[in-house]
Symmetry: D2
Subunit: 261 residues, 4 copies
C-alpha cells in the first residue's frame, strides 16, 4: 500500500511543528504527599518536518503514547524518554509535547481542620532540540482570593474581593514540585482558597483577606520577588487575573523574566 | 438532480427537531434607550420532520435568514414571521428558533456619573406549534456582586464577596424589555456591576454591597417575589450562581414557577 | 457563633434546588472490561430548601463527598447512598446530583488491531424525591463519523463527511453499561471513530463510511429504533450534531420519547 | 480621597503589562465591500508599570474606550491613537491592545449563486513601544474543508474529509485587508466553506475537495509559499488544525517565519 506521507516534497518549506492535538488520555502525576495521583490529560505532540518530506505519520504519536498504557507517569525521565522516542519513530530533529491536566491537593481548613480537595489546572511543556537538549516548562494555574487595597482604604467598611487566577510557568535547574509552586503563589494572595470551610474557617479567611489587601500588581510582584530569590528557578512567566466582583471584566498583570540573561 | 431528502422513510419515526445549529449572524435588537442596537448572534433553527420524510432541507434555513440581510431585527413580529416562514418553506407542523447574543447597556457610575457599557448575555427562544400558536421565552444572564451574609456576621471586619451570574428566563403577556428584566435582577443583588467606576464610585459600591448582604438563596427569592407580583409575567425559570471568592466552585440556587398552573 | 443559614425566612418561597456547582473531583467509574477506571469529574449537588429556612449549609456537600475520599465510585448503590445522605445532613425533602466525566475505552483498529484509547464525555444525573424514589439518567456523548447521503448521490466521486457528536440520555430498568450505549450509538453512525488507525485501517473506515451514508436524521432514527426495541430502556433523549465539513455551522436532529407514557 | 495606586513601590520590580482583560464592546471594522461593518469585540488593554509605582488606574482604560462610543472603528489610525492615548493617560512607556471579534463576509455559492454570510474569528494586536513605534499584527481564523490525500489514494472510493481551521497572523508593510488574508487561506484548502449550498453547489464542493486533497502539512506549506512571495508581508505565524472525521483528536501543523531576519 502506497505511503503518501513518505513521498518527497519540492516546495522547500520545512515545518516547525506537525502532529496531533487535543488527545485526551488518563495519566499519573507525581504527588508530593501520596507518591502519584491519577488524573486525565489533554495532550499535544509535535515534531519538526524537514523540507523534503511530504507528511508525518500521525498514528505513531498515539501508538507511542499507548505503549505506556496503564503506566503513563508524567515524570521527568518518562517525558524525556517520550521526547526521544518521538524523534526516533518519526525521523525528526526536534520534538515537543504539551500536557494539560487537573491536579488535586487535599487541604485542611485553617481552623476546623476539615479536609477537602482543591483542583489546580497544570501543564507540562517539553521540547527536545536537534542536540537532544531537553527543555522543560512546568505551569500551574492557581485560584486565589484577592481583596482590593483601594476599596478597603476608601470605604467605611468592607472591601471588594473576588476569585482570581494566577498562572505561573517556570524553568528550573532541578526537580520542582507542583505543590511548591502552588504554595508560593498562594502565599502571595490576599488569602488562599479551600474546598471545605466551616464557619470558624470562613471567619478566618474573611479576616485574613481583609488584613492582607493586594492588587494584581502586588500579587505578581510578590511572586516575582520570591522567584528571583530562588536559585532553582532560571526563568518564569507569571500573570494574575482578577474576575472583579464589581465589573464584568478582569484586572490583569503580567511579568516575565529570564534570570539567565 | 435527485433529491434524497425528499424520499420516503419507512422507519415510522417522526423527529422532534431537525435543522441548523450554531450559525453566527449579525442582528439588530430593540433597545429601550436607542431604538435598536447592532450585535452578533448565534442561531439555532429547527422544525419537526414527519415520520414519512427522509430529511429536511438544511440550506433553506440559512436562505430564509439571509432574506433579512441588513435588516434582521429581533422583534416579536419578525420572530413570528420567521417561525411561520420556516414551517412554510420546509412543509413542517412546528418550528423553533434559539437566538443568543450579547446586549449592551450604557450605565452611569453611581457617584461620578462616568459612563461605560455593560454587556449582558441574552437569548430568545421562539416556538410555533401545529396550531400556529407562538410561544416566546426571553432570557437574560446578568452579572452581579453578591456579598455573603454569614461571612459579614461572623467576621470582625470585611465579608467575602464575588461576581455572580443570575439567569432569568420569562414568558410574558405583553412586550417585555430586556432592560426591565435586567433592572429587576440588579435590584435583587448585593450591588449591581459597572464598567467604569472612579474612586468615589468604588467607595459607593463597596459600602452598598456590605450593607446589603445576600445569599444565592436570597437573590432568587427576592427576584421570584418581584416576578410573582408582576402580572405581565406568566412563567419564569431563575438561577443564581456565585463564583465564590473563597472556593474554586460555585454556590447555586434555582427556582421555576408556572404562574398559570 | 451565629448560624445565619439556620434562621427563619418569611418570604414564603421554597427553593427547588440549592447547593454547589462545578466542583472538580477524582472518581472511579465501573468499567465493563477492567472493573473500574480512574477519571476526573465535575460535580453539581443540590437539595430543595423549604420556604421557612433562610439558607442551606454549602460546606456539608463537600464534606459528604470527601467522606468517600479515595473511594468515590460512581456505582448505582453509591449514588443512591449519596442522595440519601444529602437529604439527611441537610434536612431536605429531595436531593439531586449531576456528575460529568470523561470515560476511556480501549479500541482496536478494525484491520491492524492496533490499540488506543477513545474518550467519551459522560454524565450521570440522580434525583431522590420526597418519597425516597431514586431516578437515574445516564448520558453519553459519542464522537462519530457521518457521511452525507445527498453529497454521495449527486457527486461524481467522494462525499463530504465530518466528525459528529451523538448525545444519548437514557432511563432504564436495570443496570446499563456505558459501553453498551456507546456501542449502540456507534453502530448507527456511518463509521465509528478510533484513536489509532494504520493505513489498512484508514482504508477500512474510509470505505465503510462511504458505503454507509447517513444524515443526522438517519442516525437519530436508527438509534431510536434500537432503543424502542430494548425493554431495558424506559425513556430516552437523543440528538445528533454534525460539525459539517462544508459549513461553519452544524446540522442537528433531536428525538425524545417516554416509552412508559 | 487617598489614591493608593499612586503611592510609591519599593520592591523594585517593573511590570511588563497591567490593565483590563476580556471587556466586551461593540465596534466597527473596515469592510472591503461595504465600507465598515458592525460587530462585537472582546478587548484587552495593557500598559507597562514602572518599578516605582504601586498600581495602574484601571478605570481609565474603559473611559478611554468609551470616549469613542458609537464610533469605535478598528482602523490603523484609530488603533494608533488609542495606543498613544493609553500611554498618555496612564503615564506609561509602552501600551498594548488585543481586540478579538467575529467578522462576516457575504459569499455566493459556487454554482447557484445563493448568498449567505460566513463568520471568521479575527484579532488585532497592537503595541506602541517606548520609542512610539507601533507594531501591528492582524490575525484571522478561517474555517476550511480538508480532504486526506492518503485516505483518497488507498481507498476504493471516497476519502475522509473534515472541517479544519487555519489561524494566520501577519505583520505587513502597508494596509492589509482581512478579506485578502482569508482568500489566501481559502485558496490553499481542499475547498472553502460556505453558509448556503444548494444541491448543485454541494456537488461542486464535494468534487472540488475530492480533486484537491491536502494534508495539514500541505495547507501550511501552500500558504507559506504565497506569503513568502508577498512583499507586503514581513512576518507570519500560521497553523492548520483538522478536526479529523475519523478521530476524536486533531491533526496540526505550524510554521512561523520572520522574513526580515
Amino acid at each position: 500500500m502506497i505511503d503518501i506521507q513518505k513521498q518527497p516534497d519540492f516546495r522547500n518549506i520545512p515545518i516547525d511543528q506537525v502532529g496531533i492535538k487535543n488527545l485526551k488520555y488518563p495519566v499519573r502525576v507525581l504527588d508530593r504527599s501520596n507518591g502519584t495521583q491519577h488524573t486525565v490529560a489533554s495532550i499535544n505532540m509535535y515534531v519538526d518536518l524537514p523540507h523534503h518530506s511530504k507528511g508525518t505519520h500521525m498514528s505513531r504519536f498515539v501508538e507511542l503514547l499507548h505503549s505506556y498504557r496503564n503506566d503513563l507517569e508524567l515524570s521527568l525521565p518518562t517525558l524525556s524518554k517520550i521526547l526521544d522516542e518521538m524523534k526516533e519513530i518519526l525521523g525528526a530533529q526536534s520534538s515537543h509535547v504539551e500536557i494539560s491536566f487537573p491536579y488535586f491537593i487535599e487541604k485542611q481548613a485553617p481552623e476546623s481542620g476539615s479536609r477537602g480537595l482543591v483542583d489546580y489546572a497544570c501543564r507540562f511543556l517539553g521540547t527536545s532540540d536537534e542536540n537532544d537538549q531537553i527543555d522543560l516548562i512546568s505551569e500551574v494555574i492557581v485560584p486565589i482570593t484577592s481583596l482590593c487595597p483601594c476599596s478597603k482604604e476608601i470605604s467605611l467598611h468592607g472591601a471588594h474581593n473576588q476569585r482570581g487566577e494566577v498562572k505561573l510557568a517556570t524553568r528550573f535547574r532541578k526537580f520542582n514540585w507542583i505543590e511548591d509552586m502552588i504554595e508560593l503563589v498562594e502565599g502571595a494572595a490576599s488569602c488562599e482558597i479551600y474546598s471545605v470551610l466551616k464557619r470558624v474557617d470562613e471567619k478566618y479567611v474573611t479576616e485574613r483577606a481583609y488584613e492582607n489587601p493586594k492588587f494584581v500588581e502586588d500579587i505578581v510582584r510578590d511572586i516575582a520577588t520570591a522567584l528571583n530569590e530562588d536559585d532553582n528557578i532560571t526563568w518564569f512567566e507569571l500573570s494574575a487575573e482578577n474576575f472583579e466582583s464589581i465589573h464584568n471584566h478582569s484586572a490583569y498583570a503580567y511579568i516575565t523574566s529570564d534570570k539567565m540573561s
